[in-house]
């Protein structure tokens, strides 16, 4: 691995990207460069020294999120285990990407679409397809719908309940998505 010394420039660039992810995930698209700079604790001009313009920063952020998501999903080895276990790993990977994923998903309408699809949606669709052929996943819903549902679920929880931590969020999302909210087996109310 390239665990080279984290040079100053790299550290500042990372801080700016992190602050941008937070600001964009919280305040949405209309977060200004001044907001990002303030959140990162640097001057506005410094941001422009690292990223020539706003779009470049957004692109860098999207690229980072894509690479992070790809790496986590690759390490998850979704193809090595059955669909339910793979799903839990996938959710853990997505939750681990955190705010970067929220930003990436928010910008997936923009011109640079496809990135989100290739890095996140496609592996999920493949996972659901395999789960369906193996009999682990219900077949009355398309892999596309299942993927969108899972993404919506993750995003909703990720944006509204950031206090659960990675494992807590993963457990909630996985359990709910796989088994649903209905009580299983037990008798309903004695009507």
């Amino acid at each position: 691995m390239s665990t080279a010394p984290p040079s100053l420039r790299e550290r500042v660039a990372a801080a700016i990207l992190e602050a941008a992810a937070d600001a964009l995930a919280t305040h949405g698209e209309q977060a200004s460069i001044a907001d990002v700079a303030a959140a990162a604790g640097v001057a506005r001009a410094t941001v422009y020294r690292y990223f020539p313009n706003r779009q470049a920063l957004l692109d860098a952020l999207a690229g980072l999120a894509v690479r992070d998501a790809e790496a986590r999903l690759r390490e998850a080895r979704l193809d090595d285990v059955a669909a339910p276990e793979a799903l839990e790993r996938a959710v853990r990977a997505l939750v681990g990407v955190g705010n970067h994923l929220v930003v990436l998903e928010r910008e997936r309408v923009r011109p640079d679409a496809g990135q989100f699809d290739a890095a996140v949606a496609q592996p999920l669709r493949r996972l659901f397809e395999r789960g369906q052929t193996d009999g682990d996943i219900r077949t009355d819903m398309s892999p596309v719908s299942l993927t969108e549902s899972l993404v919506g679920l993750v995003m909703g929880i990720l944006r509204s309940t950031p206090t659960l931590g990675v494992e807590g969020t993963t457990a909630v999302v996985t359990s709910l998505f796989l088994d649903g909210a209905r009580t299983r087996g037990a008798a309903a109310h004695p009507g």
Copy 2:
């Protein structure tokens, strides 16, 4: 009922709000007044004749969405039926609000928060609480988490798959949320 003649002003105001809902749901917060005006087929100045400033338009839109959601949830009579049936009705109500709900949910971080909570989240939480005491809904997840999950699910499907229609979307969301994506009962893959 006050089914008065739909005066001209009311019709234009409704058209502007509808266009604003579409534009804001599609292009997010950075949709300009010019975008809204173009989408509504009116001049930019006309928008300002109906809403003194951008914030007033956003407030009107949020108020409309809140009233719409409240009315639909009230008509759904969630308290009159068991939790699973009530959940389906609630989902149908939320889906029926459509893009207005997406906009309202996106702005729930803003100063005028609470509106979304009072109109949408609170009824859902009450529904889940009742479902848990009746034994219809699993109790290892809080009503708050269940509510956030359901909202995330609805929003995700609503924004990414607008072609299913109200009934299709309702069926998908309800079934998935109640019973999950896992195959029920059938044997897993023959390993």
